[in-house]
């Protein structure tokens, strides 16, 4: 509780001193650190506090294993974002410092809330703060309003869900929603919007791209963790096969769709945005499998899938935060928006930003022993065990999920390699704007290290989370460095041993390199002339083969000097937008047509309707 109190105090102080941005972010960092400590403290012994409001309804806050886990992960990312913002925030107004502290404060209450009122108030504050944070970038009204529209859509669904519980039990406590399918269904839909699950993801491409990078990192990680946390809560309250299957189907489709879109993207922040859709899809699908296994009495598989979900959350959170922070660094330094324009980050901008993109990208591409590899291996291991289900429908669903997820992993790897290959490792130098970057580099390096460490020492995380029973020693790998996916053994993995072998081989390679003094380095032959700027292979060239092969899905159109392809799920919203515009235009033409008698009729009609409504109520 001390950590909880201190966190609130630091966040409030951060808001109070918002005029001094550096101090404000330092307080924000301290607050986030306190929350991480709170998470670690309460993972094994949570706290709970409840009050009665005039004996009408009860409000409560507290932590349990689940909320503690989310607090740890979300606020490790927040800590990095706060440190990063010390220097990065200098490029934006003081208001941003205030807003980030308020977001961290409100999210603390979201994860600790035990009732609908606290949750919804905190949820709305966070949404509104993020809305204003997006507006920190000029000409971003359209993107900010799109975000707000989907956030409010989520809020409305959650309000309906909680209203259903209240009308049934007279309580706002989450616990009151147990075994209430209707509540679970609305809340489920509300939370998947927050997870950017397809087809509610259409706002992200433009908004992530426009928002300042520290805000994009919040949108991508802590905010989507709110949605994930909500889904965890709902599925623990309502043991419904329908929702579990819905989670698996929506999750796998979302993972596939996000990966598919990231494969064709060439914009610097839109590609990771679609990667978020893919990752959250995998998280949702994995959780659905875990729940389905639990309901089917497959205890070990359920446990392993649940752990997989937790690892996917860790992997996504750490890697995506690293990626957005590093991309933001490069973007601000180079003042460019596309991947092609930020070539050579590692060489020209900063080693930390370059390595940040490289390490996080490799993690998303499932390169061992990084945490992304561990989590994606675990996910495939979970899905490969579909044969254990006795129900043929479940087997079929999970098998198809496995196919979609495998395709998603491949496509995502294709897309991410484009990002790291061109931006971080590319060869090009353009004009660099020097920005203060000590704290930026500190945050990037810390997060990059976490991506590596959490992969290599994944068995330690398993032990801490209480899943030591899934560790073993086999084939010369010492106990407990080997993760097993089932009992009896189905699949095994030891990222730690992989790292040991990797380091050993690296040393051998380095020794060979340094011992051979006669090694010559020559530039590749390019026809006898130096390469010009316009002769560099670009991201469109890289993606075009996918866009061409999948032209039916992407609606690819080849123009004279560019390629047009797009996320067709946007067309649903484009259609709705056009419909509402036409509808409002038609109505305005009928009612607001400049004739006085139309207005009088309208007022009288409203008066009569109001009269009837009040009279019969």
């Amino acid at each position: 509780m001390l950590a909880f109190g201190l966190a609130i105090l630091f966040f409030c102080m951060g808001m109070a001193v918002y005029f001094n941005k550096t101090l404000s972010y330092i307080f924000g960092f301290l607050g986030a650190l306190c929350v991480v400590i709170l998470g670690f403290e309460s993972y094994h012994a949570g706290f709970s506090y409840q009050i009665d409001i005039y004996n009408i309804f009860k409000l409560g806050i507290g932590t349990d294993k689940l909320s503690s886990f989310f607090l740890i992960v979300a606020y490790i990312c927040f800590s990095a974002i706060a440190v990063y913002s010390i220097d990065f925030g200098k490029l934006f107004s003081k208001t941003m410092a205030f807003l980030i502290n308020l977001i961290m404060l409100s999210m603390l209450f979201i994860f600790c809330a035990k009732d609908a009122i606290t949750f919804l108030i905190a949820f709305e504050i966070a949404n509104i703060c993020l809305f204003f944070s997006i507006l920190e970038r000029v000409n971003s009204h359209n993107q900010a309003y799109r975000f707000l529209a989907f956030s409010e859509g989520s809020s409305v669904l959650l309000m309906i869900a909680f209203a259903i519980v209240f009308s049934a039990t007279g309580s706002f406590l989450f616990q009151a929603g147990q075994n209430n399918f209707l509540f679970a269904l609305f809340a489920f839909l509300g939370f998947i919007i927050k997870m950017d699950i397809v087809p509610t993801h259409v706002w992200i491409a433009q908004t992530y791209s426009k928002a300042p990078s520290n805000i994009a990192a919040i949108l991508s990680v802590p905010l989507t963790l709110v949605g994930t946390y909500g889904i965890f809560r709902i599925l623990s309250l309502e043991k419904s096969y329908t929702l579990a299957i819905l989670a698996i189907i929506l999750g796998s489709l979302s993972a596939f769709w996000g990966a598919l879109q990231s494969a064709r993207e060439t914009q610097l922040k839109t590609l990771p945005a679609y990667s978020t859709v893919e990752n959250n899809g995998m998280i949702l699908a994995s959780l659905g499998v875990s729940m389905l296994a639990q309901y089917s009495q497959l205890t070990v598989l359920s446990e392993f899938s649940y752990l997989t979900t937790l690892f996917l959350i860790i992997s996504h959170s750490f890697s995506k935060t690293t990626m957005f922070l590093s991309i933001g660094h490069a973007k601000e330094t180079l003042g460019k928006e596309t991947i092609d324009d930020v070539r050579g980050i590692l060489k020209n901008v900063s080693k930390s930003a370059g390595f940040g993109i490289l390490i996080s990208g490799l993690s998303f591409s499932a390169v061992p022993p990084l945490v992304g590899f561990v989590s994606e291996w675990m996910l495939l291991e979970s899905l490969f065990q579909s044969y254990k289900f006795s129900d043929a429908t479940f087997k079929l669903i999970i098998t198809f999920t496995g196919i979609l997820i495998a395709l998603a992993i491949g496509l995502s790897s294709f897309g991410i390699k484009k990002l790291i290959g061109f931006s971080s490792l590319g060869e090009f130098s353009s004009k660099i704007k020097k920005i203060p970057d000590f704290s930026i580099k500190l945050a990037e390096n810390t997060m990059s290290a976490l991506v590596v460490i959490s992969g290599i020492f994944s068995f330690v995380i398993l032990i801490y989370l209480g899943y030591g029973n899934l560790l073993n020693g086999l084939l010369g790998v010492f106990k407990p460095a080997l993760i097993v996916s089932s009992k009896p053994v189905f699949g095994v993995l030891s990222p730690f041993m992989f790292a040991v072998v990797f380091v050993f081989l690296l040393i051998v390679v380095l020794l060979l390199k340094f011992s051979n003094k006669d090694t010559k380095t020559t530039m590749p032959w390019v026809g006898g002339l130096a390469l010009k700027d316009n002769e560099l292979y670009n991201t469109r060239g890289y993606s075009f083969i996918v866009e061409y092969v999948l032209r039916g899905i992407y609606r690819t159109k080849e123009k004279k000097t560019y390629v047009e392809s797009y996320d067709i799920s946007n067309s649903i919203y484009d259609f709705l937008e056009r419909l509402f515009k036409k509808l409002s235009s038609t109505i305005s033409k009928i009612i607001m047509n400049g004739h006085l008698y139309y207005y009088v009729t309208y007022i009288v009609a409203i008066f009569i309707i109001a009269l009837f409504v009040f009279k019969f109520n």
């Binding site: 026809g527 006898g528 292979y537 060239g541 890289y542 075009f544 083969i545 061409y548 004279k560």
Partner: protein
């Protein structure tokens, strides 16, 4: 059908060298709007400017895939070539400049250096221009021998181009056979005329003397090679894999002709012929070979059929040869007069035109309209929208030589 052959800009006055039917001559540049090809010949077309998502995939100037030093600037976003700009300036030797102030006999040697494959065509067109300027009468035997050797040049060139084309389309066995036949003809040339590429045979007003009997032997030997080619060609037409690659690849249309004014087999492949052999005196009822589809396959078929046609023509021409030794003592007097002339010869890939201005017996100005100049623009156009796989056989189907275009 009219063609803009070039823009003549001597002594500050711009004129257009044009051909229309049997007319070849200069017209005033005020009529330039009648020729769409004026823009690129004048260098007014904007080419090679990368836009949006295109990047330049540069091939050359020195690359294993290329026979000559040239740069293919291929603007693409990956699989498809959206815009192509060929820079052949690496092959430029400024031969037109070097001919200035030289006597015609010296300049004749330079004309043979423009392009080995068309050495005889260039030599023939140049000699004809000088002979016209100085009213030099040449015997029928010289005229016939020139026509024979032009057809010989056509045969070995066409076989060479088809071998390149089949090589590009991965028909390696066919390619090697054709290359063998090509080299056999060059060996025959060396044996009978003293030069593999028919250089140093033609001169102004005359030609190296070869007895008729020798020419008949040559003809028989050549015919056996052409028969061999015929078998290979018929065999190649049975390969669907080969034909599929050429069919519908690198298509050109009449609009493209109007824009770029190319001729030769590339034009014949779209059902139009501007073959100047119809104006030659010694051909009986000459009829051009034509095809309809305008693609790489049609261009190959035109070339193959022309090989057989040329063989027939050679036999007819040799029959008309007489046993008289041509006069090799041609002297060009320095009369200090200004004169000009235009002449042409039908090379394997289109007509070569020479416009020459002389002062006395020295060349003052030369403009050479080489067929490859036009074919390069046609190649650029035909590559637009094609995928990279089609690149090699689209380019090789034209039989263009960058040395010929660069001059």
């Amino acid at each position: 059908m009219k063609r803009l052959l070039g823009i003549i800009n001597n002594k500050g006055k711009e004129q257009l060298l044009v051909s229309s039917g049997s007319f070849v001559g200069l017209i005033d540049s005020s009529q330039s709007k009648d020729f769409k090809a004026y823009l690129w010949q004048k260098g007014l077309n904007k080419t090679g400017q990368v836009q949006d998502e295109l990047f330049n995939f540069r091939l050359g100037p020195s690359s294993g895939a290329l026979l000559e030093s040239v740069i293919f600037n291929i603007f693409t976003y990956g699989e498809r070539m959206k815009e192509v700009y060929i820079d052949n300036t690496y092959k430029s030797r400024s031969i037109e400049q070097k001919m200035r102030a030289k006597c015609p006999f010296e300049a004749l040697k330079l004309s043979e250096q423009i392009c080995a494959s068309f050495a005889f065509s260039h030599s023939c067109a140049f000699s004809r221009a000088i002979e016209e300027a100085f009213n030099i009468n040449i015997s029928d035997n010289v005229k016939i021998m020139r026509l024979v050797l032009l057809e010989v040049e056509r045969i070995f060139n066409h076989i060479y181009v088809i071998s390149r084309l089949s090589g590009a389309a991965a028909q390696k066995v066919l390619t090697n056979h054709l290359i063998y036949l090509f080299d056999e003809i060059l060996s025959l040339n060396k044996t009978f005329f003293g030069s593999r590429f028919l250089k140093n045979i033609n001169t102004i007003g005359s030609i190296k003397y070869i007895p008729k009997a020798q020419m008949e032997i040559f003809s028989k030997k050549l015919e056996s090679i052409v028969n061999e080619f015929s078998k290979l060609y018929e065999f190649s037409l049975k390969s669907h894999n080969y034909l599929d690659r050429l069919y519908n690849t690198g298509i050109l249309t009449m609009d493209d002709f109007e824009m770029f004014n190319f001729d030769g087999p590339a034009l014949k492949a779209i059902n139009i012929s501007l073959d100047t052999r119809v104006y030659e005196d010694f051909f009986d009822n000459f009829k051009s070979v034509i095809e309809e589809d305008g693609d790489a396959l049609s261009r190959m078929i035109v070339r193959a059929k022309e090989v057989f046609q040329s063989m027939r023509l050679i036999k007819q021409l040799i029959e008309k040869l007489k046993e008289d030794v041509p006069n090799s003592n041609i002297v060009i007097e320095d009369d200090q007069k200004e004169k000009n002339s235009i002449a042409f010869a039908e090379s394997p890939s289109g007509t070569i035109y020479y416009y020459i201005e002389l002062i006395g017996n020295k060349i003052d100005y030369v403009y050479i309209a080489a067929p490859s100049m036009f074919l390069i623009k046609a190649i650029e156009k035909s590559l637009e929208g094609q995928i990279f796989t089609d690149f090699a056989f689209t380019v090789d189907s034209f039989g263009a030589f960058f040395a010929d275009a660069a001059k």
